[in-house]
């Protein structure tokens, strides 16, 4: 089976998908629109190089990912390339040597009420955008765009499903803490 490139369907099939990925990664709608457009145009130019080894969607997402990295680099937001499995991304900051929690997190009061509040979503998005880059990529693809483990590993360049689980766990650990300090702790103090 050969994979055909069909730009007529691109926007309808992948527009929201790519936009959403960029939106959550960058936290900026206008920028997300621009990079989505740039991705399609770059893909048109590079269409001969599409090998058909990945799906069209995986290929397009890979292009967008590079565009985002370039943008973050230019704007000075991205520094060292973080692979999401290194020590700096580990869970060590959350546990002592025996694997016990270092700090006692509090119960969240009525969390479902927060879902109705726009400010909560801004806090949530902000926390996602500030995850280490690779963890953010993975979290967005899996939890927001709902891609399979296989596709997520391909796009984010993760070698095994096991590593993916480890990285998701680290992403959630950080998100949880960020949401707590940026939202729930504040709400409790009001």
């Amino acid at each position: 089976m050969t994979t055909q490139i069909d730009p007529d369907r691109w926007l309808a099939e992948y527009g929201d998908f790519l936009y959403r990925y960029a939106l959550f990664k960058l936290g900026n709608a206008a920028l997300a629109e621009d990079l989505t457009q740039e991705t399609f145009l770059a893909a048109l130019k590079a269409r001969e190089r599409f090998s058909g080894r990945s799906t069209e969607r995986t290929w397009l997402t890979g292009i967008l990912k590079h565009k985002i990295v370039d943008h973050l680099r230019r704007s000075g937001r991205e520094t060292a390339l973080e692979d999401g499995l290194s020590d700096s991304a580990s869970l060590d900051a959350f546990f002592d040597n025996h694997g016990h929690w270092l700090s006692e997190h509090q119960a969240w009061n009525n969390p479902d009420q927060s879902l109705e509040q726009e400010k909560f979503w801004h806090a949530f998005r902000d926390c996602i955008a500030h995850l280490p880059p690779k963890l953010a990529d993975l979290y967005i693809l899996r939890e927001i765009n709902g891609v399979s483990s296989e596709e997520a590993c391909k796009i984010v360049d993760i070698s095994t499903t096991n590593n993916m689980w480890v990285m998701l766990s680290r992403a959630r650990m950080r998100l949880r803490r960020c949401l707590e300090s940026n939202w729930f702790a504040k709400a409790a103090g009001e």
Binding site: P7, W10, L11, G15, D16, Y19, R20, L23, F24, A29, E33, T36, Q37, F40, L41, L44, K45, L91, F94, F95, H98, G99, H100, W101, E104, H105, Q106, A107, W108, P111, D112, S114, L115, E118, W121, H122, F124, R125, R142, E143, I144, G146, S149, W165, V166, L168, S169, R172, M173, L175, R176, L179
Partner: protein, 82 residues
Amino acid sequence: MLNCKETSELASRSLDTKLSLHEHARLLIHLAACKLCRRYLLQLRFMQRAIAKQRRAVSTSLDPQLPAQARKRIQAEIDKHR
């Protein structure tokens, strides 16, 4: 018995895939004895539920879909560059 760090990883994985019976049992045993890990799992589940809900929430100012205007503009650009 699992420690809290190991439990947190297992708790997270339980959101992604079905744990083996053995893993599931070990998770439950730890959770039964540990309030902080129970809380942690509840909060992870809440976050996953929240995100899933947002995916469906269209037509708010937080719409996670490509706006119609942008869509038009991008289609025009694609057509121009084909």
